[in-house]
Assembly symmetry: C3
């Protein structure tokens, strides 16, 4: 592999196709069942209520504000006696499910995990990160308070090469102290970001500069290490990808980072809950790398329909022998890299298999997206 600091050798998925483009694509690829295509095929007439309307976060099952739902899948109101009424209740439930899926990918304000271009200063890649409070649209119409780096949840994606010199210029505009830990990077201890052990806390309004030569390749993370059980779930986290100098062990046509989170924002993939999550769109025959990262408090066994995933790396280290699965259990703090060989065309559900993280009686929500193979 050529040696270069261009982080985009492998196309990095970072922009959601607009809803319009998504539907257009699906409409064209008529031979391939896709979301909109399926909708056309399966469609029922319905007056689609806006799913997830209201103020509950994405991890809240749709309708949870009204229904007495719980992790067992919630409770539907008992339907009146008789098959006709049962059918009407079933239709009503299905309308909610359909509306959610039909709106996918739903437009929301704000997008996180965008690859950040550094400033170059004397050969050093400089990243300015500022933490501040903001309101974040985690799913359509659902605004939550977030604490974010540079206005993004997750924070901007940092992509560098092994051996690069990097500087993180951190400004804390929060109302409490913070600090940044580079999770997985073997930095010198003074750059490790643990207040009172390796540095003083960064007080509100103050700055701290982290600088180091990037030591070890892999899928890593950066996040707050101060009052972390509050600051991380609120959004102070991001991907720190280090590309190996000798090239990746597995060539990818697309390289996708999927950060899992749970907590006050609900169940999210890259800061959004379904239907505001972004589909991954590849062409048939392409090789897709997915870098799973869990920044939450719970495991999330991610299940991909229709094909297997080849597990190649754990926490940035190559596995001695890659191995196949279709459901990968990802624990808090872990990163797993997988390769997907996109041979089976279609729109494939891709979700956490703890089902109450993905679907409720009013439809899919939270940790659900789709892999679309054209």
């Amino acid at each position: 592999m050529p040696e270069t600091s261009d982080p985009t050798e492998t196309p990095v998925v970072q922009s959601t196709p607009s809803r319009r483009a998504f539907l257009r694509g699906a409409a064209v690829a008529v031979a391939v069942p896709a979301v909109a295509g399926a909708l056309a095929a399966c469609g029922n007439d319905h007056k689609s209520a806006t799913p997830n309307a209201g103020t509950a976060p994405a991890g809240t099952p749709p309708g949870a504000a009204h229904a007495d739902s719980d992790h067992s899948g919630g409770t539907m109101a008992p339907h009146p006696q008789g098959p006709a009424n049962a059918r009407a209740a079933a239709d009503e439930m299905d309308r909610h499910h359909e509306a959610g899926i039909k709106s996918f990918p739903a437009a929301t304000k704000g997008k996180g995990n965008l690859v950040m271009q550094p400033r170059m200063e004397n050969g050093v890649k400089v990243y300015d990160l500022a933490a501040a409070k903001l309101m974040w649209e985690v799913a359509p119409g659902q605004m939550v308070e977030a604490w974010a780096y540079n206005g993004q949840v997750p924070g901007p994606q940092i992509r560098v090469k092994e051996g690069d010199r990097v500087r993180i210029d951190f400004t804390n505009n929060l109302e409490e102290s913070s600090a940044i830990h580079f999770h997985g990077l073997q930095v010198p201890v003074a750059m490790d970001g643990v207040p009172f052990i390796t540095q003083p806390p960064v007080k509100p309004g103050e700055k701290f500069v982290y600088e180091f030569t990037v030591p070890n390749a892999g899928s890593h993370m950066y996040h707050s290490h101060h009052n972390s059980s509050k600051q991380v779930p609120m959004g102070l986290l991001g991907a720190f990808i280090v590309e190996p100098r000798r090239g990746e062990t597995h060539r990818a046509d697309q390289d996708y980072v999927m950060i899992l989170n749970d907590g006050p924002h609900g169940y999210t993939l890259n800061g959004k809950g379904f239907p505001a999550t972004e589909p991954i769109v590849v062409n048939r025959g392409q090789k897709l790398r997915i870098r799973f990262m869990n920044e939450g408090m719970m495991i999330h066994p991610m299940h991909l329909h229709g094909m297997g995933m080849l597990v190649t790396h754990k926490d940035g280290y190559p596995q001695p022998q890659p191995w196949m699965c279709d459901t990968l259990n990802i624990a808090p703090g872990e990163r797993w890299d997988v390769m997907v060989d996109a041979q089976n065309p279609g729109t494939w559900a891709f979700h956490c298999h703890i089902l109450p993280h993905a679907e409720g009686p009013m439809g899919m929500f939270g940790m659900v997206t789709a892999l679309i193979i054209k």
Copy 2:
């Protein structure tokens, strides 16, 4: 291995030995401590209260309706002062424990996970599956509402060979829509069973036909993919085993499918909680395959006493190099195949090692069974 579509080349455990046969077997094998043998050896006189009497599901610790138990193991009422009274309280607790074990395997109405014989139609293996509501005896005397395929929880076990043509003729007799997803099978997307993405929902009283050539070998599952966080824990799930055309990588004398579940039915193994779970009975020297499948919402680290388990497959894919363990953590949606070399004779406890899933102050319950090596 000969090529045949007979799914019973390897004897598949599917029938619980009756309680009478179980006790008789144990009484004969006097040199081998077994449940009843141990009871004879350890027996205390006691008036055995029926364990788990009442209406709480199997996952509820025995006596939970009366005691203020919780996941920390519950609270026993403080015993009156003095060693004599302490001993009486200890004896009382032990009586409940003993009664539960002595009743194992307890007879209950209904049995799931029975291997289903297909109808053959022009070379196609046809499986008729109908979903309906019923009452299910999850442990002795404990009736729960279940939503079941063909009256079984788990649904009937489907066992086919790689390359077989199969048809699933699905009738929905529930009061809400449903659909069947073939979890782990690389089917064409139109057969993937996700309403509004790959097919319309199957309305109450309606039918849907799935048909495909079985693509990839391994321990797979089928389950509802509509309102799934309700429908799956209620019982709409089953094993879909695909035997490889070239034969299994590891020869087994017995092949046992163990489906884990949690939720409204409590903590269950193949739809039953201890003492209604079924023991696995093998002869010394035999090779036993266990196919673990988790259809619940929680991890369940299954621990086998007395010997190790060789992990051979994950989600139907062979591991590059099998590896040994005695406690295997199984996350929702995962399947793991293991081989057990039955060399250590005896009755071995086999249970989830999240202890509150297996034992409470009134005795063992939920995810507990035994491996009996004669």
Copy 3:
């Protein structure tokens, strides 16, 4: 490797350096940022409130008795308007965080997991274990009721060699029955410790003798198997290390056993919560073995800062090919052995990455310790 029954060939970490020695060491090693060194460098003036004062267990976030904290990281009281007041509130929070870290490792009464020397009787290693109730100081000033073997939580560490003959002379001084299961050891079934299956329960005031030839090497455990979801979290557990006759596959300069627990004592490492946990102190260039064991009810993904861990064994069995990680997910009942190559000097945080198990708004607590590389 020479064949010997001396369990201390590899130095086994078992004594916490006193706080005085710890600070002295840190003060000398001025070139290496260590806890006290960092404090000197980062120090703020502060009146340090004793962290964790009160009676809540170690797993309770500091201040939880007063604040309405939860697993999302708790809630800080809203600070009065204005940047000066925000700064004052941030300073107040930081003072609590600093006080906790500055007190590490905090002295507490009682220490578990101490290697026990057996009595020798005719070539048999005899271990006398007695279970009794006591009060345990889980973190400074936090007394909890514990049920313990020989007054230790975890119980005394048993270290023997493959093929040794051992006898466990168990006396039950509790007010309820008990029994000892040797988790991971392939003992004859009569020694398996499951009341009413393999032995009668050991009544209050009674004894039971376990005796066997140690069958299989590895990191194993012993714990109660009667009313276990109560007795194990209360403290009836310990490490049972079996050194292979042919020597370990990976040479270690230090061999450290880390037992994870959760439940009524809070989140603990070897029976203590931060800041009463013990640091692991090694010299640069040394090889450290860590034997993780989970005796709790939850997973704990342990994350080591600054370097990777080579995973060598699962449940005492060698992995076919060791593999690297920095975050290792450990499920209840599992044991994982790892090797750490101590090349990166400094004081490295080492904690469960379920953040609410490690930090709250008042500072770090529970499952946190440090690896100090001098």
